[in-house]
Subunit: 411 residues, 4 copies
């Protein structure tokens, strides 16, 4: 596990910076290079990248690989370290597909030690999370809203890579536990002690490929599925369940293995998971609030009940002191640092009782459909198309819905 | 012009009914047949149909033809008139493409004479139109909102077919004037006297085909363009300008011909135009308010500044006494009878300063992108995916934006 | 089973006519109407239609339904029988997708009784079938070509509809046997006594829909799969196995049920199967040679080893006295009446050892890819794009390949 | 002009090697790295690369940029020169889109000086070019085949970069002349003296972008078109005309400027042109035969009349001593080193009198359609899917057709 618990000298504190940068094409890292050139941040301060590239978001979307290669090359040039070594340590989670009003961009998370400033972090901005939906259970639309006080502190980040998950473990309980373990390691690194202080977990989990599956079978193992597409869905489920266990949303009960891709009332309300053939280990980015960090950034996250749940955006904004009426005013919009959305074409073929055609379209992939629609909705509320909107939301928020998370400067 | 001014006996008044019906596939008219069977309406009371079918919305979208054939066949069976004759008199405007959360459906407008009920229509529901954007001029975001009192009365409908527009006239000022003339005829049929009482005009305008263009040239004429795609854009422009003249949004000035597809600050804020090779005449549906009609239906319409203009939806709802906070409450949502949206992928490649990729996507047509995004936005506000969302919004609302119109029961 | 054995008066014989007709769009039956108007054939002589429409060939391809509705409407007008009744008796098998050089067209099979002409049919054109691949077994590329004398006679046609196949039977051995029974009934109707005289079988088999699967489960049954896409594959397999049994290519052995969608060395070399939600019974068209028919038409059919097997086209042409060098000369091309091709994107991801990308393309469906490629190949040999090229070739010809069949006038 | 005439010591001669390499994804250069590792070739011997990547081939196809970045990075590592410098000198022409059976691959051209071997090059393999179509004139299908003796010698290569073509020159006669000049420079570098000894010219020409067009207009220039797509077509026309002039297929007559994109009977039968926003200079690769080179490689090239012109493949093979019957036998197929095809969806909407649907498909780009179809045809003849098949064939071969070129080892 390439992650160590947070340990800082008494007079210094970590502070997170979040930069949301545009790109002219998937190989264009000029905006980040300019920040390096200007001294805004140093290349070795970068701890994670989450981005949205303009491919199709499917198996043959090479914009993710192109961006990653370009990013690692830039970081290698600026740090003097080999690109390959950086690639093994720096989580870089990309979602392809900028349908509709979505704009290609990437969010750079960087950490810097700054002199401890007693008055900066802490009590002034207690972040609250209000939700109509209890995570880890069925969405109960009649339930009274829960309002939880979130720990004082500033936005913190921690990352971790699990050991490689072998093909025979993909989508099984050992996979779930490996993710849970990695999420806890990332929480430790972030200095986030309480699961309820975690605002958002971004995961990238490995899946089987035909070759990996065949090798596992040849070695006497069995695989859950040899179909890469199906394996990706199981990997996302394992990631969601692993995060849910680490965050206390689900019990660490192996009997839950049977609920994966079956009982969609079991979910994490704060995990966003992608899966890809290009990784062999589970990559974890944990974002949350910690009194050991300082700075003006805070994060809100809310589950979306379905693809029309516009109220969820307001819920994610509320703890940040932001309010859309119906759109975020310009002075509030400038305080938004990054937005992350998970969504899903409802597998029952309907949204609120009317038929949708996303799952039956031979011309446009269903994930492209749903990203475009939910992206349009959230962009309308925020007045900005620079959103990380990703499909494949199994067990990540309510069935047929997903979740929305916002980072903002509350300083 | 197949349209006659409204003339009714003193004791009777026309009343409009609007039914929004789902379909299982483009040939499925069973919901309308059921209404006929139940006696809810008679086949000869149907005066217009506007629908959204699940094709790709492009040149090779045959769901529109399939639906039209099925509709005309049903009406022929139920009225005993030839399908062909009905097809020549009944405007049927279809937009293909139910991207994202949009749901295939069709809106049936039917007119019935009912005993005049002095108290029903009239003063109780004065419909007001408030707008931040003055139609026919450049969008002025700093202008104070204009609030216009709309004439008392109930929602009225009128339809008209212009004479066939020859290929050499398509997209020229004679085309514009023919549309203006037809819109006025439809207003007369609707009994709408003042242009400001028109809420919404839906048009379907002919364009050139290669064959028509060649025939016109062979006969010694010149055509504006022989490219059908380009011709469709000019036809939409002619439709929008024609409506704008009839509605008093633009002056009837031939010098404006040069503004078509050039000066996008000239537009109608209440016209929605489609163009297709399958028509040779301009088909017009005018909806507005008239004291000579009765019934509980009213209509609101607002221009959209860009693809993120969520406030415009509220503006269209407000005169109907509806309010989204941020979504229309269920009891208000049931009062919505139909929704019409026009939108456009911003041709400058950006939405509010950030790059979009709609125009450069070789895999998904730009119109499909924008329909999915704006459809997601409007559906989120209304809590319903049964929206007529159509692209190709040249001169129909502000450049890069469009318009949104809502019919609701205010009774 | 709506099929009766062939029985004709002594002085009359059936003669098959095959017309290959173009269409301007999927609702355009004008070419067939013109043949009726000209007296070339009567509407009640039409016994089957196989066509290629310009949709995407996927779940949401409504060009098939549009064409079918238009065809049935025309036949109803011309015969005075209800469209619904004709639809239940007349096999109409459509494949959507005219990728690349493929041209939208439909093949109309009509049967007419003509005075028996002793010298016309029979010995002069013994059709031989030469094949490098033994049907029903693994392709053996080293096997010497088999040359079988095919029965003398003219091209004959027979059709049959099985009883509806219930959801719980789809893809199971009872389904296979129902198809085999229907194929034999169609052979009887055609007057084809020996399985080896069958040249080609076109099948359309029902699959489960979500609704049908749920109803079956509610009634206490189990279904093989509730996934419509997977069910279509099983239905095609059942169709292929059923035909193979009737044609003597596979034994009628229930143990073979385990080979369906698993052992792709088991196949029919003369069956082309499509599956769709729109049918509940298995529709069968059998084409072959019978001494009881007369006329100048004959048919050849050859399996394709893979998507590059250009030699197979020559094999299908050879028994018809046609030879491509490398293209069919114009005088021979005019004798071709219809061409049918089944093909498949190789599920192992390679064609002859080099990688293909058809299965990983999120933008274009794999079946569209393979139809375009194999269509280009066969069209190049024949010099004509009017080919029925259909994907989904499980157990229809060798794995990764398919088959090609040609009807020609040899008179 | 970064090109110098061929000049070699008396005892040494240049020899061309051509390697056709597969790739697992657009960033996979491992096959080339392996050749470097094995000493098969040195990185500084590479003189040009032509490849086919698995993108969509459209504006948003980033597989080309990804491959180029990866290639330049590998060459930089192995030569010690900056990637940027190599990129400015080494022509790398990529076509996106591996539709159907086409396989992602790249062709590496490398040049090495070897001891002169009097017996090796020269008379033994006189390459002949036979064609039914006179280049530079209308296709005359009745004309007797012309058989021209091509100069003895081995396959030679020359490359050149023109100076940057300013936006105001794109698609104009100055652009044509710049290309012609660069082609002649590449011929000089190749040591090819006679135009008729040139077998094939691959070009990559710059086009305007919106930004470049605006800058040119701001500087007081006019541009032919500001639409990038249209500009690419003009750039391809300029490339084709420039090559045709250098090869003597068209006269150097400025009056011909009016024929560009109008008179499609004017074409080069040996030029393949692509255009892209990523280049500012015209990149040229000339391949032909020269007595000053040695080695076993030769090249054949033939125009294709239309998308069904299978005979053209045989014409390209014939001078190489290869014959398809109907497919190239395995022992001949191993001698094929590379294949290049240009093709075009017939803009008149028909192929040999039957309607095609490529130009009206809103779901699949027309170029993807035609590449898949012609790729299937040529792959069927050669038994191999590793073909460079590129669309956009304006003035490159007959209208609606294109050309096919083959490099083979005749030793």
């Amino acid at each position: 596990m390439t992650s160590a618990p947070l340990s800082t000298p008494a007079h210094l504190r970590p502070q997170l910076a979040v930069h949301r940068l545009g790109m002219a094409h998937p190989g264009d890292l000029s905006a980040l290079a300019a920040l390096f050139d200007a001294g805004t941040m140093a290349a070795d301060e970068v701890v994670a990248v989450i981005g949205k590239t303009e491919g199709n978001g499917g198996v043959n979307d090479f914009t993710r690989g192109y961006f990653t290669q370009s990013l690692m090359q830039l970081l290698a040039e600026r740090t003097g370290r080999p690109a390959e070594a950086i690639w093994r340590e720096l989580p870089c989670v990309l979602s392809g597909g900028t349908e509709g009003v979505l704009s290609p961009h990437y969010v750079v998370f960087s950490r810097r030690m700054v002199p401890a400033d007693a008055g900066c972090s802490g009590g002034s901005h207690v972040v609250e999370r209000e939700t109509r939906i209890a995570p880890g259970t069925a969405a109960d639309t009649d339930a009274p809203a829960r309002r939880e006080a979130v720990a004082p502190g500033a936005l913190a980040i921690g990352t971790a890579f699990s050991p490689p998950t072998p093909a025979q473990d993909i989508g099984r309980w050992t996979h779930v536990r490996a993710v849970a373990h990695a999420v806890r390691a990332a929480m430790d690194q972030a200095g986030i002690d309480r699961p309820e202080d975690v605002a958002f977990v971004q995961l990238k989990c490995p899946c089987v490929t035909s070759a990996r599956a065949q090798a596992a079978v040849a070695a006497g193992h069995t695989v859950l599925t040899a179909d890469p597409g199906r394996s990706m869905a199981f990997a996302r489920a394992a990631g969601a369940f692993g995060a849910a266990i680490a965050l206390g949303e689900l019990p660490d009960d192996p009997a839950l293995e049977g609920a994966m891709l079956r009982d969609f009332d079991r979910f994490s309300a704060r995990a966003s998971v992608s899966s890809g053939v290009e990784v062999s280990a589970n990559e974890v980015i944990v974002l949350g609030h910690s009194a050991r960090w300082q700075g003006p950034l805070r994060m809100g996250c809310a589950p979306m009940r379905d693809a029309l749940d516009i109220a969820a955006v307001g819920e994610a904004l509320r703890p940040l002191g932001l309010q859309a009426t119906p759109q975020l005013p310009a002075d509030q919009a400038t305080r938004v640092a990054a937005v992350f959305v998970k969504c899903e074409p409802d597998r029952r073929g309907q949204v609120r009782g009317t038929r949708h055609t996303m799952l039956d379209d031979t011309d446009i992939n269903a994930q492209r459909h749903i990203r475009g629609a939910v992206g349009g909705l959230v962009a309308g509320v925020l007045g900005d198309g620079r959103l990380f909107v990703s499909g494949g939301a199994e067990h990540q928020g309510p069935d047929g819905g997903g979740l929305v998370a916002v980072i903002a400067d509350v300083g």
